[in-house]
């Protein structure tokens, strides 16, 4: 500040050791020199240590055979695959948990946050205690608890609990669901789904323009949802309605067929969602409380229904308060998903940890972790900043 104000005034001649600009540069050069010296010292030590321990450097290890098993993969992977592929499997697993966690904890957190403001005393007390219980205990403890409960309290595959007429099985090896057998029509249904979303978006734009021109409202939400659901369904019917399913069946000591959700994944997702939704609930609550009471009164005075005033008046304004802290919660979910390593879910950190132990190349692997998390974090922040800008108050 001092430098700025002096810069604009006519310069007074002072001795160089009293000139703030000169002082500033000297100070910066000294600090950068010290940091540089520290970096040089650490790097030279590291190089010496690596040479002494005969550890290779560089990223060539990525092309070598990984040789370790991964329990839960979204893409083709075997121990004969490369380290690069093992790490990629880890990244995909991290992303899967993070994306699902963000969606579910936003949903649950909003419900709990709104529940805390409910006029029903019992409901608001229960929501408050939910928030306190999950916020004040480490996430890792919840993860251990859920994982141990699933793996010890649930029976083995032979005594699995069957639900819904023997179609869904709960056991300590995971939850087994039936899935439709692969059919070419699924691809077309997916395309129809995307077209449906585009159609619903266009319908919304048309409805908004019509309402601005004529004042006639249009049930956009139900019509849009209808398009998104009905269109793929029609495609399915047109494709001959294939209904063959792959059912989970007990064969020997385990199930085959169907699709399985691993207990590690379930425990991690449940733990992350319950823990984070407690924080999300507080953010939503404070966002709604931050609004002036006149807003809801004015909306009621205009004759809007409770739902309309929430959707058109209150929520858009509350979002401005909610979005910035929510961004940091989303980043936290992504970073906290790394706790997976403690309960054996094969995420990025778990893959890297095995790779470090096998190759000894700690530095390269740590660089990969940092690059992966930083790029995920930066993309989430960039998206949320864009969203925040689009809902921000437009002033002159």
């Amino acid at each position: 500040m001092a430098v700025e104000s002096l810069g604009s005034a006519p310069r007074v001649k002072v001795a160089p050791w009293n000139d703030p600009v000169v002082r500033g540069w000297v100070f910066q050069i000294v600090v950068v020199g010290l940091v540089g010296f520290l970096a040089w010292y650490l790097v030279s030590n590291t190089i010496e240590n690596l040479q002494r321990q005969k550890i290779a450097s560089g990223f060539h290890f990525l092309e070598r055979e990984a040789g370790f098993e991964i329990g839960d993969t979204m893409i083709e992977y075997s121990p004969a695959s490369t380290y690069a592929r093992a790490i990629w499997v880890g990244i995909l697993n991290t992303l899967r948990v993070a994306v699902l966690g963000i969606l579910l904890s936003t949903l649950l957190g909003t419900l709990v946050g709104v529940g805390r403001l409910s006029p029903n005393w019992l409901l608001s007390r229960i929501c408050a205690w939910y928030v306190e219980a999950f916020r004040n205990v480490p996430l890792l403890l919840w993860l251990f608890l859920f994982y141990k409960l699933i793996s010890e309290a649930f029976p083995g595959p032979r005594q699995a609990i069957s639900l819904l007429w023997n179609s869904v099985f709960l056991s300590n090896r995971g939850v087994y669901f039936p899935v439709p057998l692969a059919d070419p029509i699924h691809l077309w249904m997916g395309i129809a789904f995307l077209i449906g979303i585009a159609g619903a978006w266009m319908l919304g734009r048309w409805a908004k323009r019509r309402q601005e021109a004529t004042g006639q409202p249009f049930p956009t939400i139900s019509a849009g949802l209808g398009i998104i659901i009905v269109f793929p369904f029609l495609v399915w019917l047109a494709g001959g309605a294939p209904h063959h399913m792959s059912w989970p069946e007990l064969k020997g000591f385990n199930f085959s067929g169907g699709i399985v959700i691993q207990p590690e994944f379930t425990a991690l997702l449940v733990g992350l969602v319950l823990y984070t939704s407690a924080f999300v609930a507080e953010i939503v609550r404070s966002g709604i409380l931050a609004l002036h009471k006149g807003q809801s009164e004015a909306a009621a005075a205009l004759g809007l229904s409770r739902g309309q005033s929430m959707r058109l008046v209150l929520l858009p304004q509350a979002l401005r308060v909610i979005v910035p802290p929510m961004t940091s919660q989303y980043l936290n979910i992504t970073k906290n998903s790394s706790l997976a390593i403690a309960i054996g879910y094969p995420d990025l950190v778990a893959s890297i940890n095995v790779t470090i132990n096998q190759t000894g190349q700690a530095i390269e692997n740590i660089l990969i972790i940092m690059a992966a998390y930083l790029s995920v974090s930066l993309s989430i922040s960039a998206f949320m900043n864009w969203y925040n800008k689009s809902i921000a108050l437009r002033e002159r």
């Binding site: 500040m1 006029p119 890792l140 608890l145 940890n353």
Partner: protein, 426 residues
């Protein structure tokens, strides 16, 4: 109104619904509408059912006295496991007959934290409390403390420098002389020590047997990691925050880069880095204690987050404060230490406590690099084959202990928020 009646035939209107007393309260808060009433009844049913099941499990059919896990296999909770293992869960592998040491260390740390929570102590007394508290804690934990000569000299230099900057305007001539003397003695002593004139000498305080950090475990480890993580990260977080707000481009760039790098990656990756890379960074032959490695990672991590909290406080100060300090002719250090930080830190104390709650919980991640913190000792208590199969009991017990700590801290932070804002509230 169509039914206007002659005065004599007017019907009395029903009195307004009573809103006082327990019935009125229930009508207003539980049964204000049909939907509300149904919600209440459903919730009472669900809560009652869960509570009945939980009480039955945790109290009525629970086993408090079994001596092995096999005896415990009934329907209820096996609290006998906690009875058997609580000393291990709280103190880890610390020599069994010496458990009074970590117990008193925990008490000393708690006393230190509770005393620092009192606003009347927020002055020079804080330094005394932390100095004495830390000394007692580490003396009890280690059993022996060696204070090397160079550390004493270094403290003299730092103390003199701080005194000189803070009190330069107020101090009398002989007080100033004392600060200069401290700095002078310190620098000369350090130079002589480095040159090898002064011998490698240290004060040894050794009333108890030495216990190395690999035997530490349980609650003291969690408390030490969190408390000293914050204590060391605090000054360095202030430096980072000041650097980030500085208008010197190189300093600002360094601080922004560091803060964002640390905040962008998970704590686990920092812990793994500290455990595998710190030994590589240091000259060959030096080994660094595993506990210290974890502590360094926690400090690095905490500093970046604290810096962001403090930056919030710095940004909340009106520009006039900076300008007024400049106009008074204060230099940067005086301006920062006497005008800016006292005001900025006051604003950020409640969010800082919330950050501390976060670190307290996050220290549990150190179990991944094999440190026996409170959660890890609880975890290890489950490994005993005699007592296998009761994870719920142990984790609920650990969760209860964590809850007590975090909940009371969050209450304190709420209280403080109200207390500190008394001046600005209307």
């Amino acid at each position: 109104m169509t039914d206007i009646m002659p005065v004599g035939e007017r019907q009395p209107i029903a009195p307004p619904v009573d809103e006082t007393g327990p019935l009125g309260w229930a009508r207003k808060n539980l049964f204000s509408s049909w939907g509300n009433g149904i919600t209440t009844i459903v919730l009472i049913g669900a809560v009652g059912w869960i509570l009945a099941w939980f009480l039955d499990w945790a109290l009525f059919t629970a086993n408090f006295t079994a001596s092995t896990g096999a005896e415990c296999r009934g329907s209820g909770a096996c609290w006998a496991l906690i009875r058997e293992k609580y000393r291990y869960i709280f103190f880890g592998s610390f020599p069994y007959e010496q458990h009074w040491r970590p117990l008193f260390a925990v008490i000393a740390m708690l006393a230190m934290l509770v005393m620092s929570a009192d606003r009347r102590m927020w002055n020079w007394r804080l330094l005394v409390i932390w100095g004495v508290g830390s000394f007692v804690t580490f003396l009890l934990m280690f059993g022996q403390i060696h204070i090397p000569l160079s550390l004493i000299l270094f403290v003299a230099v730092v103390g003199g420098a701080i005194g000189l900057t803070l009190r330069s305007a107020l101090a009398a001539a002989n007080e100033r002389a004392a600060y200069y003397a401290l700095i002078g003695i310190g620098i000369v002593g350090l130079a002589l020590r480095i040159a090898g004139v002064l011998p490698k000498w240290s004060i040894a305080i050794a009333p108890l047997s030495y216990v190395e950090t690999s035997l530490w475990g349980g609650l003291p480890v969690t408390l030490i990691l969190a408390t000293y993580g914050l204590a060391f990260a605090f000054p360095y977080g202030i430096l980072l925050a000041l650097g980030r707000r500085s208008n010197l481009p190189l300093i600002k760039g360094l601080c922004v880069g560091f803060i964002e790098l640390i905040r962008g990656v998970p704590l686990i990756s920092l812990l793994i880095m500290a455990s595998v890379m710190l030994p590589l960074f240091l000259p060959s032959g030096t080994t660094i204690d595993k506990f210290l490695r974890a502590q360094v990672a926690v400090i690095l991590f905490a500093g970046a987050y604290i810096a962001e909290v403090i930056r919030g406080g710095l940004q909340s100060l009106p520009k006039g404060q900076f300008e007024a300090a400049d106009a008074m002719g204060l230099n940067y250090l005086q301006k920062t230490l006497l005008i800016i930080l006292p005001q900025a830190l006051r604003v950020v104390i409640p969010p800082l406590i919330n950050t501390f709650i976060g670190f307290f919980k996050d220290t549990s991640l150190v179990l991944i690099i094999g440190i026996f913190d409170f959660l890890n000792t609880a975890n290890q208590a489950l490994v005993d084959p005699n007592w296998a199969g009761f994870p719920g009991e142990v984790y609920l017990f650990a969760a209860f202990v964590y809850f007590i700590f975090c909940f009371s801290m969050s209450r304190y932070s709420k209280y403080l928020e109200v207390e500190l804002n008394k001046g600005t509230r209307r």
